[in-house]
Subunit: 200 residues, 2 copies
DNA sequence: CTACAATGTGAACGGTGATTACATTACCGA
DNA sequence: TCGGTAATGTAATCACCGTTCACATTGTAG
């Protein structure tokens, strides 16, 4: 009964479920790469054991964070262009993908780097959304091509560019140079699939 | 002075420096994904503090392991084809790259997944070797093309395929299907750069 | 043979994921 | 309004981890 009148530290958080995800996102944005359960709990102003009422284990919380990340990645891509149907527009989306990875490296690692359960979580749905978005782009841009392998190839190319930059295997000090590299790589891939040529 | 005549547990390991790397490699091969310093020490038959005589911290040991991994990746690639100069041969190398990632996922994650020091370790040299190997392939295969961006694009494509399969974003249950996917993607990329067309 | 440098040990510190028993609170039916 | 039950948060605890320190042991140079 200490300080009962003030609003400080109510016993119940209110919405810890999403508060934890928000706290985790904050930590990632601040450069924390490990996302310890305890650190997230601290940031949310709650005891170390509290998160386990809402997430079975660290894996589960991280997956929830990753799912939000996929949504934000999708936002960033659609912001670059809502519905690309030309190589130029597709290149802009590709650049946005790599820029997302470089701008939010810790989140990107959580989304793609950590070994995760293939089966039972929301991540598969979220990544499926990204995949479908790309698939749609490809189908609009190259109606003659087989969309599935081409979409896969483009996703892999762009994702690989993002990963290699993020891991320091490709120099990412100059954003313009990065954009040029992405532009060149994607165009190289796309010139293979102009109407009239075989894509698979 | 217990059991002085037997060869069991001599106080000095002999070659702990490389023994630790070997132990770490064993653990990775057995599926351990975390590579805890203590577990490596245990496997090497040594106290938890001993590794610190040879590696400044976990980062340093992991980097040494990664460097060995790069060497083995290079071996796997050259085993697929020592010196590719045609798209067909290059495809074989690409498939070998992805198969390496799928066959030794924990090692691959150590090599590429973990955030690492960009500056002062042997990893940059080792990745540079992989990069140069690819660059050489591209130069031989496409003498008319600008090797640097094309080599980057191919590396990114193949690495992206490996990463997405490893993270479960692409189905990797059927090795033949994986190989087909890699084949299709790389060929799509390569048809863009046949002599007479612009690569950048 | 002796001193020194190199190498390995054991104990310790703080941090982590996770579980358990317990405390507090919200909410719903009487 | 009251009381009980389910939901939610806490404190204590366990095992493990990275890392450091003082100390023990061993190889080796002089």
């Amino acid at each position: 009964m200490v300080g009962a009148m003030t609003t400080k530290t109510p016993y119940h958080h209110g919405d810890l479920q999403s508060g934890l995800v928000r706290a985790a996102m904050e930590l990632l944005e601040e450069g924390e790469t490990d996302l310890s359960m305890r650190a997230v709990a601290r940031r949310a102003g709650v005891s170390p054991a509290a998160p386990y009422r809402h997430y079975e284990d660290r894996e589960a919380l991280v997956s929830a964070v990753a799912a939000v990340g996929y949504g934000e990645l999708a936002e960033a891509l659609t912001a670059a262009h809502p519905s690309p149907s030309t190589p130029e527009q597709l290149v802009r989306v590709a650049i946005a993908y790599v820029q997302f990875a470089l701008a939010r490296p810790a989140l990107f690692r959580v989304m793609f780097g950590e070994p995760c359960n293939r089966d039972n979580n929301e991540r598969v749905a979220a990544t499926g959304a990204v995949s479908l978005y790309l698939q749609g782009i490809v189908e609009r841009s190259f109606p003659d091509a087989d969309a599935e392998p081409l979409g896969t190839a483009i996703w892999a190319l762009v994702h690989g560019l993002a990963s290699l930059h993020l891991d320091g295997k490709l120099d990412s000090t100059d954003p313009a140079a990065v954009a040029d590299r992405v532009n060149a790589a994607v165009r190289a891939m796309l010139t293979a699939t102009q109407p009239g040529r075989d894509a698979a």
